[in-house]
């Protein structure tokens, strides 16, 4: 009896360990001398990828402060007029992942700037509503964006930032579909 419990839990704990191993190790691979460190921590959590990257790019937790994620997660049944409801288990795991890695808890430079651009009582539900974002994109015309079928929405980061899904938003990676092409 005892023995089987021990064996069972060894199997389970090694499975847990292998899961932890898969979801860890998010640091940028490759030489730090030649490749810039991505400016927002990349998404490494597989559950988050499955649940929050199916309708749009998986927005990195470091793009919004903890209080914004908490608010966003309370309204998933009416999520920007879409339904993104989760099971109770996934809900808790994803909420923890988001809040643990939120902009105000991250030491990545872009995350710090986003967090610092907000007044303490400002809780935007959109990255695109943060002061930092608005400042960086004020040269873009919104009408051009919504009329460009390839972009569709300013929330579609990856349409212009070719490495957005890796957490990198450097200017030299920007390619605006249509007329403009490379930005720099």
């Amino acid at each position: 009896m005892k023995k089987s419990i021990v064996i069972g839990s060894v199997i389970i704990s090694s499975a847990v360990a292998s899961l932890a191993y898969c979801s860890g190790g998010g640091e940028y691979e490759g030489s730090k001398w030649f490749k810039p460190r991505p400016d927002v921590a990349p998404v490494t959590n597989q559950l988050y990828k499955n649940e929050c990257a199916s309708c749009h790019m998986g927005y990195q937790p470091g793009l919004l402060p903890e209080r914004s994620w908490q608010k966003l997660m309370t309204g998933l049944d009416d999520h920007f007029s879409d339904n993104a409801e989760l099971t109770a288990e996934s809900y808790t795991a994803i909420l923890n992942y988001l809040t643990d890695n939120a902009a105000d808890k991250s030491d990545y430079k872009r995350s710090r700037r986003i967090a610092n651009s907000l007044a303490a009582d400002d809780t935007p539900l959109r990255i695109t509503d943060t002061d930092y974002f608005k400042r960086k994109h004020r040269e873009l015309s919104l009408t051009t964006i919504t009329h460009n079928a390839e972009i569709g929405s300013i929330s579609n980061c990856i349409a212009c930032h070719s490495q957005a899904d890796k957490g990198s938003f450097n200017e030299n990676e920007i390619r605006i579909p249509g007329a403009l092409g490379r930005w720099d």
Binding site: I11, E85, N156
Partner: protein
């Protein structure tokens, strides 16, 4: 004693090995069949897939094809976010319909959003029968 170890080991295997596309899809269809002694048709599924429902909010006309396309061997495009959605045809895309919970989750969300209500078991069965033949 042995039995218990086996049970916990095989439980893990069950969690970690997804079924093959066809297997899961057929077992989901059978599950629906048993729920009401129902039978399903490719034609009915195809009609449901393309039927357009009018809404008060944008986008005003919606169908399953709005995001998945009516040729399901091709990729679709999310109507609001423009994200590419891989083909729904399980022949072209073997990753389709390999997880019962995923199938149910998306039926729930997408039926509510597209048709303004949940799909019936009959409708889900017809749609899966249609998709399974594509």
């Amino acid at each position: 004693m042995k039995k218990q170890t086996l049970v916990s080991a095989s439980l893990l295997v069950a969690i970690h090995t997804p079924l093959f596309a066809g297997e899961q899809l057929e077992s989901t269809i059978q599950l629906y069949q048993r729920q009401g002694n129902l039978s399903f048709s490719v034609e009915a599924g195809k009609t449901l897939w393309n039927q357009e429902i009018t809404h008060k909010q944008m986008p005003v006309t919606r169908s399953c094809a709005s995001c998945h396309g009516s040729d399901v061997s091709q990729s679709g495009k999310h109507i609001k976010t423009t994200k590419v959605i891989k083909p729904m045809s399980p022949t072209i895309n073997p990753d389709r319909f390999t997880d019962q919970a995923k199938i149910e989750k998306w039926f729930l969300r997408n039926c509510k959003w597209t048709w303004g209500r949940e799909c019936s078991v009959q409708e889900k069965g017809d749609i899966l029968r249609y998709l399974s033949q594509q």
